[in-house]
Assembly symmetry: D2
Homo-oligomer: 278 residues x 4
């Protein structure tokens, strides 16, 4: 499986969450506490939107372990962003290669995923065939995560992200069950268009990978006095993480089972996630 | 495009052809003389059958330039084989990654390709859909070359290699032309099951990449006095190459346009290659 | 050998010179016209100072060929800088690894080099011993270029760069000649502290690798109408390159043999370079 | 720290110990049970002597984690050797790069190390200066392990390995203590010339990393019924490991603190290791 985090708020150096907290994302690449495996050493990536308001996000993705990557450390120390996703990978079988590292990008959209489509080799052909032919050539790697992204795009991610992801999950579940897969999907997902940030926690078996969010910046500041930058963040800053970045797990808000959230200007949203069958 | 070589004969250290001749394959990675580009620095690979008669070949594939790879040098200096393929890659657009380096392998079969399917992003979906569903999950990379291999397997490579490759080419051409691609395919291909070796030279425009073979070992010995091992080779040893390994180009036999060859026990074959339309 | 460029002026996206010109630096990685070799595929790197005035530059360095690196393309398209160095490497024997890719950094200083210390394995021990013991542990790689940098730091790069480089060259030449090396050093070097930019062209044999600079922005604009950003540059913008980025070679100013230059606020400097013997 | 194994006996496919046992070396790259860290993902390597009696061993070394390396899996499944060393690395600070992966090789000698020279950046210059000038140019990487190897060579490894390693350790300890380092060295080391195999367990603090050896093949067979090949091994086959490859830890013989062992034709040796001060 994998670990990821998503941040939205005042522009911040990537390293503030990738390196500085006690259980930073890069620390989790070697010592994840809540993951299926402690080690997430099969590649990594960050995707960020610029402070200059450019529409297309940048990505930097690597194939080695995050913990030893000098370029990631350099970039994290020099790039500020008001909205970024970061991901560390533990492969569930597909090769460790640049095109399989998250985040995946299409136009202005980014996508990170923790989890798996079960028996993916068995289901892959049918799933890939359902991707809109115009989108098909953009599939560059071989992961289940990227196929989920292109299915969501096919089902309208750019128009109605929640419905699109619900349709994608419903389609994967229907396809899997036809092939005799009992629990076809396990996922925590974040996606963003550069303005809003959606997070999803769901699994066919109702026992999803952990997902947490920071309720308000005051709590984050108390959690991470070592991260000086937090003292300058606006109140709207939000962080969503696979697992808490510090000891005080209780100060983080768990995303409930089968739930999605939206981080946006104005009130955030937290609501039930229900797959839509085809 | 790319460069490759295929050898069949008495067991030989890989380095005899990968490193020792003046214009060895590794030399061609930096200084190809007949290729579309002088540089073939986008990965490499070797596939070899053991001296012990084991059925499944081994592969060693890398993503950096062959000229600087220390592991390739080590392996080439220590592994002997009676039948091996080697390939250096110049990408025509798909990513440089392990799963895109040749040779591709399926069961006991190996496959290397120089050339391209033109407008591959446009044609890829239709081509991939034609791969037998049982074979589909084995496609690990994203190249046109690998799709050609799995189409050939779908069309019966394991039963009748020549017909299978003729049907594959016919299918790619028909698909391409339906999409308005004038000259859909350009190729020199080698494939082997560990016993026989097939080579193909063909392009839709009738202007195919160069391909040469050594007529007999005596000529090879004269061409490469610097390769001491050649003096110990049996008379059946054959070498097929994208471009000659030495200055004496004339001493090599060019494979004619639209032709295939078979290297095998008993007389070799050289015959016209004619695509079979679906 | 290698190729490099150095830019100082109004903040500019790295891609403006790394990718956009006809003979951009990345193009030169595959098709150098003036280099010893056309191919510079043994790693690459960029070092840049931020637009926010932070003192320590960032570096991003890779070990594959620049032409195929997706991360370099991303970074170049999203990072602006008023002062940056970029380098593509053709190894003269030392391994292709992250610690051997340029630019090298120490504190606020960056260093790129094209050329070689001849018979470096023979001279290395004596040269390395002359590096100040406090600086010794910072030598991370195994190239002659990095040893030259640490020798220059030892000889006072941070106080008087021109004298320090002249002493470094004098020391290398004296050491080499003691060991019977006729022409011990060949170099074009750029170094910077984030405020000024020094460039050096010198070789023991008086036949140094090419080096050019742009005299004024007007000329650059005429040379590269395809680089839209040049129209917004201030008049102080300067570019120094191993080889011109476009066809109009004549519009670039060659740095004379045995010469150094300084790009700085106020009038630039161009003066004779004379090694100082120890 | 790191993990390693050394095998001497009837020729065996590398995969028999690298992949097949429950706690194989590659399994230990992700799940070491006795290591300082469970993860050893900072590179790997194997060095082997051929079945044909060639004198110089081959090495294959990588920079990613062993657990995901397809080339290692291929090579291990196709190469047999009567004497091989294998190593998985957990960096103690030096870069992850090919030249820092073990085994190190010089002429016919191989060397693997688990442990560290403490405060190595502080001591490195003095240690490196003590390496014989003729050997100095062969130091290709930047690890403490490789410096230990070249110091041992300097102190006579090729003539009297035990005395040479004792002198190397004595020299490192003397150098460290002069600089105020309380416990300068921690090590388990294996080295071989292709005929005999030496293993060393020692640390300045008398609390060395674990090291085990197989007393006889009968015990190994009982330990690893899943490794079919063991049933065909001669009685002289020996395995030395950082940690046992199976559950039955008790069936392995721990190498005592401050001890060296020699595996050779005729009776093996196990004797006290005592550093020799300079």
């Amino acid at each position: 499986m994998c670990r990821w985090l998503a941040y939205s708020g005042s522009p911040l150096l990537l390293e503030e969450f990738l390196y500085k907290p006690q259980f930073s994302l890069v620390n989790q690449s070697l010592h994840s506490r809540l993951g299926v495996e402690p080690t997430n050493g099969d590649g990594f990536g960050v995707g960020w939107y610029g402070v200059d308001g450019s529409i297309t996000p940048a990505t930097f993705r690597g194939v080695g372990p995050a913990w030893g990557d000098q370029n990631l450390r350099e970039i994290a120390a020099h790039i500020s962003s008001p909205l970024f996703l970061a991901h560390i990978r533990a492969s569930t079988g597909t090769p460790v290669q640049h095109t399989n590292s998250h985040p995946f990008r299409h136009d202005r959209w980014l996508w990170v995923h923790n989890g798996a489509i079960r028996d993916f080799p068995l289901l892959k052909r049918e799933l890939v065939l359902a991707v809109e032919p115009d989108l098909y050539p953009f599939i560059a790697g071989s992961t289940d995560s990227e196929v989920m992204f292109y299915l969501a795009l096919t089902f309208g991610l750019r128009e109605d992200p929640v419905v699109a992801v619900q349709r994608m999950v419903g389609f994967v579940e229907a396809t899997g069950r036809r092939q005799g897969v009992q629990y076809p999907i396990q996922m925590s997902v974040a996606t963003t268009d550069g303005e809003r940030l959606w997070a999803f926690r769901y699994s066919s078996e109702g026992n999803s990978r952990s997902l947490f969010f920071s309720t308000d910046v005051t709590a984050l500041r108390q959690l991470h006095p070592e991260v000086e930058a937090l003292h300058h963040l606006s109140d709207e800053a939000r962080l969503i993480v696979s697992e808490p970045l510090g000891e005080l797990v209780g100060a983080w808000q768990p995303v409930p089972e089968s739930t999605y959230g939206i981080v946006q200007k104005g009130p955030d949203v937290l609501a039930p996630f229900r797959p839509i069958e085809p």
